[in-house]
């Protein structure tokens, strides 16, 4: 009985094998070679992709990470006493305390950063041949 089952499995396998091994060959269409070569030629003449400028970007990434880390530390330091107090104090910033000079300083800093990033991006674009 068991032997018959094994024989049957072997016969089925042989049949499946014969079917799968006897697959007809497909002939590529006549234009296949030309179309592959056309795409290869296109790739060959295309300018290489602009690599990401890691060298220039690393200082910026480090600076940004530093700013965020500094901010996190500041937040953590300010947050700790607040957590210990029974009630969370509401932020109290009277307008009279805000010094106009300080405001001007922040605006100047923001403008400076914008200018620097604009110059930096122009420089990168110029190197990449885009300008």
């Amino acid at each position: 009985m068991n032997q018959a089952k094994i024989d049957r499995s072997a016969m089925l396998d042989a049949k499946i094998e014969a079917i799968l091994a006897g697959e007809e060959e497909l002939i590529p269409s006549s234009g296949f070679l030309a179309s592959v070569m056309e795409r290869v030629q296109e790739e060959a003449v295309a300018p290489p992709p602009i690599p990401f400028p890691w060298k220039q970007a690393i200082p910026g990434i480090l600076a940004t990470t530093g700013v965020f880390a500094w901010g996190a530390v500041k937040l953590f330091r300010q947050g700790l006493p607040a957590l210990n107090s029974p009630m969370l104090p509401l932020p109290h910033l009277p307008a009279a305390l805000v010094v106009p000079v300080e405001q001007t300083g922040w605006v100047a800093l923001a403008l400076g950063v914008t200018l620097l990033s604009w110059l930096f991006s122009r420089r990168l674009a110029g190197r990449g041949g885009l300008l």
Partner: protein, 205 residues
């Protein structure tokens, strides 16, 4: 079936690769000419869609073109190219799977009652091939590559980047799944043979 490369063709491949790497784009044509049939046929076995097979084979050639410098000559060019093509086909089919029925729903071959045994046999063959497409990918790919490589386990395993033992185990499981799906295939085959013999005898009379 697939005219895989004797040493002369391997030398041609190596020479063409060297020329391409030296900047001769046209030399790639020799590689495409020699390998278009195997790559299209392999893609056909993965997708069973002629148009798509050519698209996938074209993509494989483009990847080969881009990555030609990465062929380290540790393995033969054919092994490298076929493994790269298998990767391309696998990821293409992941992105856009072929429309397949689940294995249980794959049509069973028509019975032995068929008058035209040759046609019935062709249909049962097609049903089995379609059922291979309905296998889970981990079993389908070993079957596709095993028969593509003319039942050479080592070549199929190299193309998949698997140990031979793993490939054999997956093949065995795939066969078991196909046996379950087509339990009457052998009987049909025998009946078909018998009926065609009878038809032949009657024709003689």
């Amino acid at each position: 079936m697939n005219t895989f490369h004797p040493s002369a063709a391997q030398e041609l491949d190596q020479a063409d690769v060297a020329r391409v790497l030296a900047g001769d784009v046209a030399a790639f044509e020799g590689i495409v000419r020699r390998w278009q049939a195997p790559l299209v046929n392999m893609a056909w076995r993965y997708s069973r869609d002629r148009g798509r097979a050519e698209e996938m084979a074209q993509e494989a050639f483009l990847r080969a073109w881009r990555g030609l410098a990465q062929w380290r000559r540790e393995s033969s060019f054919s092994t490298w190219l076929l493994a790269l093509a298998a990767n391309v086909y696998r990821s293409e089919l992941k992105r856009f799977p072929t429309q397949t029925l689940p294995l249980d729903a794959a049509p069973e071959p028509s019975g032995p009652a068929s008058q035209h045994s040759e046609l019935a046999e062709k249909l049962s063959g097609e049903a089995v091939r379609r059922a291979v497409l309905a296998l889970p990918m981990r079993y389908r790919e070993p079957v596709v590559l095993f028969y593509f490589h003319e039942m050479d386990v080592a070549a199929a395993a190299a193309t998949m980047g698997l140990p031979e033992g793993t490939l054999k185990a997956r093949l065995s499981r795939a066969r078991a799944l196909l046996r379950q799906r087509f339990p009457h295939l052998e009987e049909e085959h025998v009946n078909l043979k018998f009926s065609s013999q009878v038809e032949g005898k009657e024709a003689v009379r």
